[in-house]
């Protein structure tokens, strides 16, 4: 029984923390709300660190690391709201690596930046692969991949699609079976769709018989990519929770009211303990997801969905508590608290959202119960 980080993992985390600390990402997150050009370009930093090749096998020029290591890097990004393109890149690179695709050397070398155009796997009550809609409660149909590899359809709110070179698209073939293709970004229409959180690059991606290269992958690979993306956005949230809690604690210790530090009042103390509780639960589920990614593939869907659900809610709760603890000042433009609040509100609704993740936890458990 050893649920702790290896020395290599600790090193990876510290290196990530160190290189991200050299950029004023949080300040940029505020400025970019009014001036998108204020966002720093972190692509050189990503390449320097080799994160673009993190999930690519060593024999193909990558680092050959696993899902858990990717989560650790995203957690560091989440701590400082760093606008890296990793949420789109990493699941894409995992699919490309599974397929042994010809683009891998260029991706590992940082010459080509891929982005994942996701589709959600079926559940116990929904037999279809589906995608995000531009608007409204109903999910959209997966893009259709013709026998010649050409692609048609729309996927909304695709992370890191703007500026990507290569789109790794999950859809269904003529028989409704899941499939994936690589599409040159120039052959798709990508409508930038940044909302509320300037650090989150999003696009609505539309294909109109776009030429695609079929990728030789299994259904399992495509499921893995979806759940990997869930764990990455969850890890970002877990990172943001830590920063938010630290901010709350600092203020709760130094701010006085009625002659006492506000952190001595039960209402504040218990609220921050609740943030800690949710943070620790999310941390535990990150370990579950990391372990399942490597050693227990049958539970990865359950673990990743539970992690996503817990971390998304933890961040929402933490950012609201942070504003509460700070009183009015926490709701002002110049304060950092609103930036994390914006992150929480948007992130919770991407990639199926925490709502879908909770449903997926139920789905996995009900499937297992029915099979038992």
């Amino acid at each position: 029984m050893n649920l702790s980080l290896s020395d290599e993992q600790e090193f990876l985390r510290e290196a990530a923390s160190g290189s991200l600390a050299r950029v004023k990402t949080v300040e940029a997150a505020r400025e970019a709300l009014e001036d998108p050009s204020a966002l720093p370009d972190l692509w050189p930093l990503v390449k320097d660190a080799g994160w673009n090749g993190l999930l690519i096998s060593e024999e193909r020029g990558g680092a050959g690391l696993g899902g858990f290591e990717a989560m650790l890097v995203l957690e560091e990004c989440g701590k400082v709201l760093a606008p890296t393109p990793l949420l789109g890149l990493l699941p894409a690179s995992a699919i490309l690596d599974a397929a042994g695709d010809e683009s891998l050397a260029a991706v590992a070398g940082g010459d080509v930046r891929p982005a994942y155009v996701p589709a959600r796997p079926p559940s116990d009550i929904d037999a279809e692969w589906s995608v995000e809609s531009v608007s409204g409660f109903a999910r959209g149909a997966a893009v259709r991949i013709a026998a010649d590899g050409s692609v048609t359809g729309t996927v909304a709110w695709v992370p890191d699609a703007p500026g990507a070179d290569l789109l790794v698209v999950v859809g269904v073939d003529a028989d409704g079976a899941p499939a994936a293709v690589a599409v040159d970004a120039a052959d798709a229409t990508i409508e930038p769709a940044t909302r509320y959180d300037a650090t989150r690059s999003l696009g609505h991606v539309t294909f109109d018989h776009a030429a695609g290269r079929r990728l030789q992958v299994t259904e399992r690979d495509l499921e893995y990519a979806w759940y990997l993306a869930q764990t990455l956005i969850a890890s970002e949230s877990l990172g943001s929770v830590q920063t938010t809690l630290a901010m709350s604690l600092e203020y709760a210790k130094e701010r006085f009211t009625f002659g006492r530090a506000i952190g001595s009042y039960q209402s504040v103390k218990h609220e921050l303990t609740e943030v800690l509780r949710r943070m620790e639960n999310s941390r535990s589920l990150q370990f579950y997801a990391g372990w399942a990614a490597a050693d227990k593939p049958d539970e990865f869907a359950l673990a990743a969905s539970a992690f996503r659900n817990a971390a998304g809610h933890a961040l929402d709760h933490a950012t609201r508590s942070n504003i509460n603890v700070h009183g009015g000042i926490g709701a002002t433009w110049e304060h950092d608290a609103p930036l994390f609040f914006r992150r929480a509100q948007l992130s919770r609704r991407l990639l199926g959202g925490t709502h879908d993740a909770a449903d997926r936890v139920a789905s996995e458990l009900l499937l297992a119960a029915a099979a038992a």
Binding site: L33, E34, E132, S133, V134, S135, G136, F137, A138, A156, W157, A193, R195, Y196, L202, K253, E254, F256, T257, F258, G259, R260, A261, Y265, S267, V268, T319, R320, I323, N324, H326, G327, G328, I329, G330, A331, T332, W333, E334, P338, F341, R342, Q345, L346, R349, L350, G353, H355
Partner: protein, 403 residues
């Protein structure tokens, strides 16, 4: 149990309604940019029209230009104004809270100098109580007033969360005049000119990006001895009067800040998938239950007012319910609509962004629950560590604890 007007009330309502019908063409738009002086001027003019028609200062005594009527008549005016789609008075804070305080505690000179131009919108007022280090704990204000040899006062300090400061003529300011006595005892209330030398007003932007409040800085502002309201050292009592009228104004106010269940239901009703989803329906049902309750809590408050009672602290619970239900509505709408609900041009952007801060406006929920637990439920108070200790020593202690 009767939700209808009495015959007298119905008659008054008809009167108000027909005046509004006749004059609504002259009204400015209900919303506008508060930094645009032409818009503000149009609102001043409209307030003057309302005042001259007897539709402002309903509950002010007649001798001060008011109508000498009861709170129910004020509600009738509020309801009819809302129903006709025109804006109400510009200076809700002055007429609802600060004017009544001058009526209660001001000198005759102060009353005759300020109340008329306040009522007619010629001079708008703002409330200068909160400070960066004195929010919920209002008695911790640090803005310092020093008396000169000539009896005039010099004010230095910072106020915050000030609504309307950018176009106000005067402010009612709570300052510390004696730091060597316990904190509730060393304060005094002043009338200050917002264009005075040493006054700096700075918009305070919120999450939304809009400057809904201001910070106001005082650097050695000089005011005459007759600027004191309610006597030197009596500032806390004077402030409590303002806070009592604040509760009353909120009690008379609209139903929950415009957060109405029918509005949310309408927005959801066009999404058929959402309407058929049991979880969406539970959430809509629950938050609407709360908002419907608040509507009838408002009627209960009015019943109490019409019997001459003043709303107790428990009416603050309606604020808690409203804000939390509106947060739940924002959550639901964003879940159903998706990220576009968060777009700056979305109908819901402001509500979703503004509510987290609103939760702590006018005292945090925790302070409110303390007050209600103690005054309404009779539960014992928290131990107070600041009792009887000179203000200056308190500050020193805090600094030491953090240092």
């Amino acid at each position: 149990m009767d939700l209808n007007d009495t015959p007298e009330q119905a008659g008054f309502r008809d009167q108000v309604r027909s005046w509004l019908k006749e004059h609504k063409g002259q009204a400015p738009p209900s919303t506008g940019d508060s930094g645009d002086s032409a818009y503000i001027d149009s609102r001043r003019a409209w307030q003057r029209q309302l005042a001259e028609a007897g539709l402002a200062g309903l509950t002010w005594p007649k001798e001060f230009g008011g109508q000498g009527k009861g709170p129910i008549e004020q509600v009738i005016v509020n309801q009819e104004i809302a129903a006709s789609g025109v804006p109400g008075i510009l200076d809700v804070i002055g007429i609802g809270m600060l004017g009544p305080c001058l009526i209660a505690h001001g000198t005759e000179d102060q009353q005759s100098r300020y109340l008329g131009s306040m009522l007619h919108g010629d001079e708008v007022w703002c409330q200068l109580f909160s400070e960066p280090a004195a929010g919920s704990d209002l008695a911790a204000v640090q803005t310092r007033a020093k008396r000169g040899d000539d009896g005039s006062w010099s004010l230095t300090g910072q106020k915050v969360w000030t609504t309307n400061a950018q176009f106000a003529a005067y402010g009612l300011l709570l300052a510390r005049t004696d730091a060597d006595v316990p904190k509730h005892k060393g304060m005094t209330m002043f009338i200050v000119p917002m264009d005075g030398e040493g006054v700096t007003i700075r918009g305070l932007r919120q999450i939304t990006g809009e400057a809904e409040f201001n910070e106001v800085f005082f650097d050695d502002l000089n005011v005459a001895a007759d600027a004191v309201v309610g006597g030197v050292g009596n500032g806390w009592g004077t402030a409590l009067t303002v806070l009592m009228y604040e509760r009353l104004t909120i009690g008379l106010g609209s139903e929950g800040f415009g957060y109405r269940s029918d509005r949310f239901a309408k927005a959801l009703s066009t999404d058929k998938a959402a309407c058929a989803d049991p979880e969406v329906r539970q959430r809509l049902g629950d938050l609407s239950t709360d908002l419907l309750a608040v509507r009838f809590t408002g009627y209960r408050t009015l019943t109490a007012l019409s019997k001459g009672q003043i709303p107790g602290p428990e009416s603050g619970l309606a604020k808690v319910t409203t804000v939390n239900a509106a947060v739940a509505a924002g959550e639901l709408l964003a879940d159903v609509i998706g990220p576009d609900a968060l777009s700056e041009d979305s109908e819901w952007f402001h509500m979703i962004s503004f509510l987290p801060g609103l939760k702590s406006a006018g005292g945090t929920e925790a302070i409110l629950r303390n007050t209600i637990g103690e005054r309404v439920l009779g539960l014992p108070p928290e131990p107070r560590l600041d009792k009887g200790i000179p203000f200056s020593e308190l500050r020193a202690k805090e600094k030491e604890a953090v240092g």
